[in-house]
Each structure stands twice: as structure tokens, then as C-alpha cells.
Assembly symmetry: C3
Homo-oligomer: 484 residues x 3
């Protein structure tokens, strides 16, 4: 049938039957071996904890770090798998790919993250072992977030094998830039405005730029939402929005650190919602709201507070951050994404530029300014030292200097994202990855067994359908319609 053949001529070979299992198996076996060599429980998750407790005069099991961080860990875990996953179900026929590949990337990446972050941060030089606890799990989830953000820019245009390559290099680059920013530059970035969002956003954009598809319009029929797919995406949005205070506070200091971070993030997010609604309504005929804005720009407040939330930015400061970044993000969806696509040949499926790259970058600079403005009068001498960790070799660093380093850290994350992304992009252009053709992007058909999508009809309607069909046949034969 000619018509169908025409439709199919742009399709590349998308068979992943060898590649995908091979990568998964090789990778998982490598993980088993490397975990066997390197990874052990830390003193709080080892059966020797009872002795450790006694030796360190810890009075109660409740002071195990598990009880400080596990609830936040679970919230972060939900954000990674349900939040990011369902946020990417908005396309009418790529919901399986959105939530399913997100699942695959994260499960793949978190194992590699435990190793990479372990080597950089917690390798015991004597034993040669990395010890892990609940904070390691949170950091592994964070590390995957960078690659999931990048996936947002590529959604629908890459094969599952490519997503794993994105994750493999993404996690590796993340661990390096994180080491430079947090350890060498001694920046504070608990919620990851810089190391997660800014890096992840630019990483994804750079890859997408290299993978530009001039004929993507051939997949236009799949490039949009249907009523219920947008509602599934709202599940993702809301879980990200609700749990963002946990995301930012998950690894901040015990006590006031976690407490204050949660409050600031909560407020910034609330403020983002109002300005997003305002700009979205202003931009459309009749003041109608656009689901794309509500799903995404409302979250910008959380991204932009990733660095500064643990500082004494004050509640009104958090509101101001959310206010501004909600506006900026919505404007991004309205004007910048189309501009990027038209003039910079950059196709950004989920608009990660507006939700992660720019708010993350702004978050880094907001953090720099807030840090530079810190004073003993506000923080207290001890509070200042604790908050910025002015200890050891950094004992004499001033808030002003800290601010400079924070700003430098933001630039490092952008550089890593862009340069790393361009390199990974070129790797992904090799014609071996079974990516979809230009007319088959955003289509789950390519990588998923799809159910027959006919709704069950009650017998009466079935009967009617039958009759309509019969009637068509008759009338068609009568008029001898040309079918070419």
C-alpha cells in the first residue's frame, strides 16, 4: 500500500534488540564487580553501629543519620521517579517513553553515581573502600537528576540506548564538576541550583543542539498533548512542587539548616505559582491559562532557591526570588524556546532552558549574592561558621570571598554542561544508536509494544459500528471512490 510506504520512508533502523540488552547486561555486571571491590556500609548502617554508638557517646538510636534524612530521601526519590517521570508524560503518544526511560536512566545512573561520588568524596585511603549511608543515596538520586533534566531536552528524539549514554557521561561529568564546585571551590549548594539544574540544563541543551533535526516537523502529529496526558503531567508537577522543600533540605545541616531550607523553598514555590499564572494569563487571548506554563514555570522557584535556601535570605527574600523567576521562566516558554528553535536550531522538548538552565544559573548567582551579604550580626558568629562551613583550610574565608567563589562555581557548572554536552552530542551522532527517524519522533510505537487502543464498546454501540462500516462499504462501491 503506497500511502503507508510513503509514511514509512523516513524511518531509520530503530531496532534495539541487541544494543539495549547488551548495554544493560554489561553495565549491570560491571556494577556488581565494582561494588564488590569498592562499596561497603558506613558506620551508621553497619552492624557495628551499636559499638560505634557506645564509643561516641551517642545516647539513642534516633541520632542515627537515617532518622534525620530518610523522610527527605523518600521525598527526593519520589521527585526523581514520579516527579520527573510523570512531568514528561505530557506528549500524547510518548508517555511510556517519558516515564519509562526516566525510570531506566535513574536506576542505571544511581549505581554509577554511588561509585563516582564515592571515589571523589568518601574513598577511605587506608581501606580503599567507599562507605555508604542514607546521605549517599540522596546524593546518588541528585546526581541522576542532572541527566534526567538533560533527557527532558531530548525527549522523544533519542533511543533508549542513547539515554543510557547520556546518563553515563552525565553522571561522570556531574561527579567531577560537583567535586570542583563543592570541594575545591568550597561552594555551598545543598539544593543544587548550580551543580544539578544549571549543569543538567545546559548539558541537555548542548546535546540537543548537536542533534538538531531539520525535519522534525514530520513528527508534528505527535508533538502535542491530549487532555488526559496533560493531566498525567500534572501529577509530576505537583510531586515536584510539593516535595521541593525536601529536595533542597535533604542534605543541609541537621537542625536549623534543614528547617530553614524547607521554609524558604516552600515560600519561593508559592510565589512562583502566582507570577506564572499572571504571565500565562496575560499572554493568551481571553486570559486563558496554558498548561505548559502551569506544569513547569511554577517549579522555577524551587530551582532558583537551590543554593540560597539554606542561607538567611529571609522569608520575604524567598518570595522575591520566586516572584522574579516565575516571570522569567514563563517568558522563556513564551519567547525564548521558540527563538532558540528558530534561530539557534535548538529543539528543547520540555523547555529545560526555562525551567532548569536559566533558573539554575540565576539560583547560583542569587546564592552568591546572599552569601556575600552574610554578616555576623544576622547569622551569629557560630551560625555563620556552620552555615558556610568556614572550617579547616577555609577558616578565614569571608562572606564576600565566599560570594565570589559561589559565582565562580556557577560558571564552572555552565562550562561543564556546555562543553560536556557538545562532546556527548557528537558521540550520539554516530549512526549506531538506533534513534528514531524524523517522522517518528515522540512516538512510543518505536520502542514500546503498544496495546490495541480501542475502547471497549457496549454491544449496542458495537452493533452500530458494524452497521456504519457495512454502509460505508456499500456507498463506497456505489460511488467507486478513487483510492490512490
Amino acid at each position: 500500500n503506497k500511502n503507508i510506504q510513503n509514511d514509512r520512508k523516513y524511518i531509520k533502523n530503530t531496532n534495539v534488540r541487541v544494543g539495549l540488552p547488551a548495554v544493560c547486561f554489561v553495565w549491570q555486571i560491571a556494577m556488581v564487580v565494582l561494588f564488590g571491590v569498592f562499596i561497603r556500609y558506613d558506620e551508621e548502617s553497619d552492624t557495628h553501629w551499636v559499638e560505634f554508638r557506645r564509643e561516641n557517646n551517642i545516647t539513642s538510636d534516633i541520632e542515627n543519620d537515617f532518622y534525620f534524612r530518610y523522610p527527605s530521601f523518600q521525598d527526593v526519590h519520589v521527585m526523581i521517579f514520579v516527579g520527573f517521570g510523570f512531568l514528561m508524560t505530557f506528549l500524547k503518544r510518548y508517555s511510556y517513553g517519558g516515564v519509562g526511560f526516566n525510570f531506566l536512566i535513574a536506576a542505571f545512573g544511581l549505581q554509577w553515581a554511588l561509585l563516582m561520588q564515592g571515589w571523589f568524596h568518601s574513598l577511605n585511603p587506608e581501606t580503599g573502600k567507599i562507605t555508604i549511608g542514607v546521605e549517599s543515596l540522596i546524593n546518588a538520586d541528585f546526581c541522576c537528576a542532572g541527566s534526567l533534566i538533560a533527557f527532558g531536552a531530548l525527549l522523544g528524539k533519542v533511543s533508549p540506548v542513547q539515554t543510557l549514554v547520556v546518563a553515563l557521561f552525565g553522571v561522570t561529568l556531574f561527579a567531577v564538576e560537583e567535586y570542583i564546585i563543592l570541594d575545591l571551590l568550597h561552594c555551598r549548594d545543598a539544593g543544587g541550583s548550580m551543580v544539578i539544574h544549571c549543569f543538567g540544563g545546559y548539558y541537555g541543551l548542548a546535546i540537543s543542539w548537536v542533534l538538531y533535526r531539520p525535519n522534525l516537523h514530520l513528527s508534528k502529529r505527535f508533538h502535542g498533548a491530549v487532555y488526559h496526558s496533560d493531566l498525567f503531567a500534572m501529577i509530576g508537577t505537583l510531586y515536584l512542587w510539593m516535595y521541593w522543600p525536601s529536595f533542597n533540605s535533604a542534605i543541609t545541616d541537621h537542625g536549623d539548616g534543614q528547617h530553614r531550607t524547607a521554609i524558604n523553598t516552600y515560600l519561593a514555590l508559592a510565589s512562583s505559582v502566582l507570577t506564572t499564572v499572571a504571565i500565562s494569563s496575560m499572554s493568551k487571548k481571553g486570559g486563558k491559562l496554558d498548561m505548559v506554563h502551569i506544569q513547569n514555570a511554577t517549579l522555577a522557584g524551587g530551582v532558583a532557591m537551590g543554593t540560597a535556601a539554606e542561607f538567611m535570605i529571609q522569608p520575604y527574600g524567598a518570595l522575591i526570588v520566586g516572584f522574579c523567576v516565575g516571570i522569567i521562566s514563563t517568558f522563556g516558554y513564551l519567547f525564548v524556546t521558540p527563538f532558540l528553535e528558530k534561530y539557534l536550531k535548538l529543539q528543547d522538548t520540555c523547555g529545560v532552558h526555562n525551567l532548569h538552565a536559566v533558573p539554575g544559573m540565576l539560583g547560583g548567582f542569587i546564592g552568591a549574592i546572599t552569601a556575600a551579604a552574610a554578616t555576623e550580626a544576622v547569622y551569629g558568629a557560630e551560625g555563620l561558621r556552620n552555615t558556610f562551613d568556614f572550617e579547616g583550610e577555609f577558616e578565614n574565608r569571608t562572606p564576600g570571598t565566599q560570594g565570589g567563589f559561589q559565582a565562580a562555581g556557577t560558571c564552572v557548572s555552565i562550562a561543564f554542561g556546555l562543553v560536556g554536552g557538545v562532546c556527548v552530542g557528537f558521540i550520539l551522532r554516530f549512526p549506531i544508536w538506533a534513534d528514531p527517524g524524523d517522522d517518528n519522533c515522540f512516538d512510543d510505537e518505536v520502542y514500546w509494544e503498544l496495546p490495541e487502543d480501542e475502547e471497549i464498546v457496549p454491544p449496542v454501540l458495537e452493533y452500530n459500528n458494524h452497521m456504519i462500516h457495512k454502509h460505508q462499504e456499500i456507498s463506497e462501491s456505489n460511488f467507486s471512490v478513487d483510492q490512490s
Copy 2:
């Protein structure tokens, strides 16, 4: 095209392009200013916590209130945004409005709630500042819940600007009645049967009564569910149901208080499910279950335990409460809602009368009875004092007196709901709010950019559709069908 014009004749001007952004911006700017003037971190979220800890001999960071309440806070947060939000997606074409306006109201209301509740409860007379911590965030979420309940009665019949007005006055009224009930009358109401559900329910009903639409039947085509919209609503139901123990226990006393409240709520909810299923099945031909009952009346046990759950009502007492209120709520959906609509001209979209107003009122009285029946034999002398907070000026209050005040508190909440609702209803009748016409209620089209709702069809079907269309054109021209 005449046909279409006819369809449109009932439509009012629903343009919110000026009003909605204006309200959002003005409001958010006001919040920034007021937060700047009034709101600061409390001692547990401030960097001075380390000094506070030392001064107060607090041995560990784990005794920061954050660790007592943050997991419950996050559960409450999920209830507010996903629970209430998705519960209101059950209509076939108002799911965006349900979940989206819920999101907007709550993000708008919680900021105002922090201020209002702060002025009444935690304004430091010396510094003129309100200090906030995790308990304030929980209370702010609670405060929004009242307005979200009211929104349930109005769902589909108001504009987004009107929802914000409902929230503005709702939060204000809430803070006042809460102050009267909890502080002046010294009632206990941790889970808010009185202050949240009873108030919110009657507030919404009163508004809806004033806004009665005699021609609402013109929107009948939108007034119902489709298969998947009811499934989305079940997400809301289940999250409300599962997290209700956290809702009721979030701000009760540390230790046994939170523990007992969670147990009682858990039991009452389980009991509600069984009686709801029983009545629902009895009421329909063939014993078929009705999703409206399952989605709503199963939650009545949580509402009705809002006051008494922290008392020693005993596990069997909790089961009895759930038992009765599940029956009452389901009967409400079967008989009272239709009665209210027909004879009292009260249109209650989500049936908040049956889920919040009545079970909340009953919960208030159950609390009164349980309090009046409290004895030292059961509670212990110290336990009785702690549970009812018989301290300071209330040192000599007896359980019997307390019961009387609890009952009085319930009446106060009803009065505030009804009177406040009528006033707000009249404000909402001004013809400036861009509310939908009678034939366009329950329709997302009015305030949302909707996606083209055509499912993607594989090439073969697309081809068939093409042919059907072609054939139609031909036959239409042949028979020259009249199109008027």
C-alpha cells in the same frame, strides 16, 4: 454559523486577561512587602539555633521541631495539592480547573495564612515580628484547606478570579474563627473538624446558595464523569485517605499525642470504607457501587475524627465514629444533595455538604462528648492536663466544662461559615468577575488553552479516516444535505 451562535448566546464575558494577572501581581507584591515587615525565622529555623540549643540544654539536633513534624507536614502538603486537587478532577471536562485552580488557591492562600495566623497567634509584641517554623507551614496549609473545601461546592461555576476572592476572605475568616475557638474558647481541635471542615463546608455552601444558577442544566453535557476522569479522582481520594492520620496528628502534642491521633484516625477511616460500600451497594440496582460514594464518603471518618482523635476515645470508639459517619455521608450523597438542589436551590458540585459540613459538625460534637467524658482514671492526672492543656488561666477547667466549650466552638464555626459565606457570595455576584455563563459551566475551554483532543492514529487508520471524509463530501454533495 447560526447553530454555533445559538450555542454561544448564554456565554458571558469570561475574559480574565486583565483581572487575573492584576490580582496575582498586586497580591504577590503585597505579600512581599508584608513578609518583609513582619515575618522572620523562629528560633528553631534560625542560624542562632546552635546557641538556643545550648542555652536550653537541648542535647541533640533531633529535638528540633522539624524532626517531630516535617514528615507529617509533607503528608499534609500532599493532601492539599494532590489530595484535594485530584479529588476535583472527576468531571469529564473540568479536570484542569479542578487541579489547577486548587493549586492556585492554595499557593495564594498559604502566604496570607502565614500572616493572618501569625498576627493572631505568634506576633511578638516587643519586636513586632511573627516568627515561623514548620508548625506554621502546617497551619498555613490547614488554613487553605477551608477555602479549598469551599471551592469544592463552587467547582466549575466560578472564574479563577472569584476563587481567589473566596480564598482571600476564607483565610481571613478562618484565622478569626480559629482564634476565637482555639484561644478564647480554649477548644482542642488538632485535626480541624470544627475550624477546617465544618467552617469550610458551610462557607462554601453559603456562597453557592447565593450564587444559585437556575439555568445550570444548560451545562448538563459537561456535568458528569468519564471513565478515566473518575480514576484520576481516585488518586485524590486515596492520598487523602492514606495521609489523613498525618493530617489529624500533624500538630498534636509530641509523643503519645501524635501517636494516638494517628491510630484513631487510621481506624475510623477503615471503618468508613466498609459502611460506605455497604450503603452504596444497597442503593443501586444490582448492588453496583457508585464512584461518587467511594471517592468521598470513605473519607468521612477522617473528617469526623478531627477533634476527638487526640483524646482517649479508644480504638473501638474510633471504629464506631467511622461506622456512623460513613453511613451518614453516603446517605447525604444519595438524598440530601438532590434535596438541597431541588428545594433549597443550593448547587453543591462536589457534595461538600456530605463530606465536610456535616461530618465536620458531627466531629465537633463527638469531640465535645469525648472531652466531657474524660476522667483522671482513664487519662491520668498529668495526661488529662496535657491532653486538654488545662494550664494557666484554664487550670481549673473540668472536662465537663471543656465539653461545653467544644460544642460552643462548633457552633461558632458554623456561624462563621454561613454568615461569612453569604457576605462573600454577594461580593461574588458583582458582574465584574468574568464567571462562566450557565451553559458553559464545568468546561475547561473557558479558562484554559486546551489541546486538540484527537488521538493519534496509525497511518492505516489515518488513511481510512481520509477516505471516510472524502466519501462524505461526495455523498453530501450528491444529496445536497441542508446545513441550516
Copy 3:
């Protein structure tokens, strides 16, 4: 109309209008009475806690068990109601039954579980009372899980009354086998590989085997997914996957016990995802992924770690477990389920054989091996004693002996599942339960009031539909199509 009558001839009497309410009411009243006689608050949820604290030198309210376990309890609660519930929404027209009956079974079962488990484990011989706290609630949820797993094998083929019978006997059998395995044999099984998954799986399979329907193919039109139903099921999958670390660690020892269990489960689950994807992709033309595998086999790692996760299996050990069991589970879906159906006449709707029965059994044996291999060198003397609870009459048990008992425990759970299931199956074959006919399985129509499932169309399309209809009438009359 003949056509319709033919369709209906296999339908049995499915009227539950008397049976369902009767069971619910009788049951719920029995629960009220039994709770009244037996159940009270334990010392941590009673108002006397303040005295208990003082007497036992507990320094802070934070050491109330509530704060150790409540966050995990809520995660388990979500798994039971949303996880299991939505996992069973995958069928195109049985989503209400999946999530709704799951809700009913669990709410019904948890009350009975509190009593049954209480009688076996915490009946105070002096007072004759059972005292409950947060750990009891977790155990009650666990106890229901066994029956919910069994429901997975029966999904779509039983009436709601039958599901309650399954739960009634399921909970009873569970309490007995749990008592034998945990108390008499002194096995460790915190996450319930044996007592929950292995038992529940074989219980469901045995019932399903007895209830074999030779003409189930008559319901073939309902036996499959549609695009969005599979996406709803992914909500269930992800919540189970994310919260499984909480499931396994909810009742393990305070401190390192909970901490280590969460880490091991997290790793095993991640590993399962990769091997599931690999096998799923290898098995299909073009390497396409199958949603059934992704929804189910990815969870096998959590099931298989239910026993061993609290032991020092080491991180790489957890990865190996996930690796193997992901493969085994996916192979089960590919080959074993069709084999069972064809040759053993065993219809297993959700494939609980592959997700629960086999991984649970393997988990039991993995636990046995890990226990037998435990040494003081790895655990420390004190750690070994704490982990395996070698105290009291079991003081002198060696790890090797413990391993033997663990293996024996697994066999006990299989035996209870199979024998109990066969008995319950025969009870369910009495013709009094109003189960659906062979041509009406997997159809919500039978037990639910369903909404009219027509999407609302905007006026223009409505107009077009109108015209199409008109045109049909005309052409039909012209060609006088035979309608018989």
C-alpha cells in the same frame, strides 16, 4: 434485539445488593465489638506515656517509637493502597475494580489483622487486652498485603463478596503462618519475602487454580490494556518501587537495622530494572519493551530482598540478587504464565507467580543462605546477636542452624499458601457469591455504575456529528440496508 441477547447469555446472576452490604455490616459490627473487648492503646500512644517516660528514663518525646517508624508506616500505607491498587488498573475496563476492591479488601483486612496478630503476638495474659501502636499498624498493613497479592491472581474473575472472603481467610492464615515462622521457628523476615510474598502468591495461585474458567476467552475483548490504563498502572509500579526500601525496613531494628535494610533494598531494585529491561527488549521483535514487564518485574528485587535486606549481604550482594531475580521474573512473564495457563489450567491475571510467589520463595532461600553465612568477624559479636535476635531460649543458636530454620520457614509459607488456597478456592465455588460469568470477566460494568463514556465535543464538532448522522440516515434509507 437478538444480537444483544446473544451477548448476554453467559451472564450469571451478579447481583450483590444483599450480600455485599450484609457482609460489610456484619463484619464491621463484629469488629467494633471485638475491638471493644480486646484492643487498647499501648504505652507509647496512651496518655500515661508521660509517666512511662519518666519511669523508664526516656529523655525525650522523640524516642517514642512513633518517630522511628511513622514515616515508614506512611510509605507502606501508600504501597498498599496506591501501589497495589493502581498496579491493578492496567486492564482497559477493570480499573475501578482494581483500585476499588483493593481499597475495600485492605480496609476490611487491616482491622481483622490487628486482632489476629494481636492475639498471637501481643495479648497481655493478665489484662486480656491487646495493646497497639504504630508497629501494629504497619503489621496490619503487611498482613493485608498477602491477601492483596492473592487478589492479583484473581483480578477480574471474582465478585467483591468473594474478595472479602479471600481477605478474611487470607488474614487468618497469614497470622497463623507468621506466628509459626517468626515465633516458633524464630526466623527473621522483616520485609516478608516468606510470610507476605511467598505465602500471598501461592495462596492466590491455588485459589485461581480451583476457580479455573475454561471459557474465559469469552471475555477476551476486555483482557488487555489501553494506552492510558497502562500509564495509570505505572503510578502503582513506581510507588511500590520507590517505597520498597521503607516496606522492608519498616519493622527492622532501630538504628543500623533500618538503615542497612533501606540501602540493600534500594540497590536490589535498581539492579532489577536493568535486567528486566534487557530481557524484555530481547524478547520482542525490534527490541520493543513490554509494559507488563516494566510494571512488574522491576519490582522483583524488592520482593527477593525482603528477608536478607537486614543482614550484612553487602551492597554488591544486593545488586546480584536484583540482577538474577529481574531476569527470572521477566522470564516468568514470557514463558511460565502462558505455560501455567495452558498446561496447569491456572489463570493468573496479574502474574503474581512471577512477581510474588517465585521471587518471594527465592527471597526466603537467599535469606537462609545469607543467615547461614553470617560470622562474628563480619557482624561483630553484639551485632550478630542483635541482628538474628539470639536471645532468651535462642541464645545458643548458631548462624548455620538459623539458616536451616529460615529455609524451613519458607517451606511453611508455601505449604500454608497452597493448602489454604485450595480450601478457600472450594469455598468460593459455592454458587452463592455472585461472581461474573465467563463472558463478563474483567468488566467494571458488572459491579460499578459506569459513567456514559462519551467525550464532550465542542459545538462545531457536535454539529459535524449531527450532519454525519443525518447523512447516514439518508443514505441508509436510499440503499435500504438490511439491519437484521
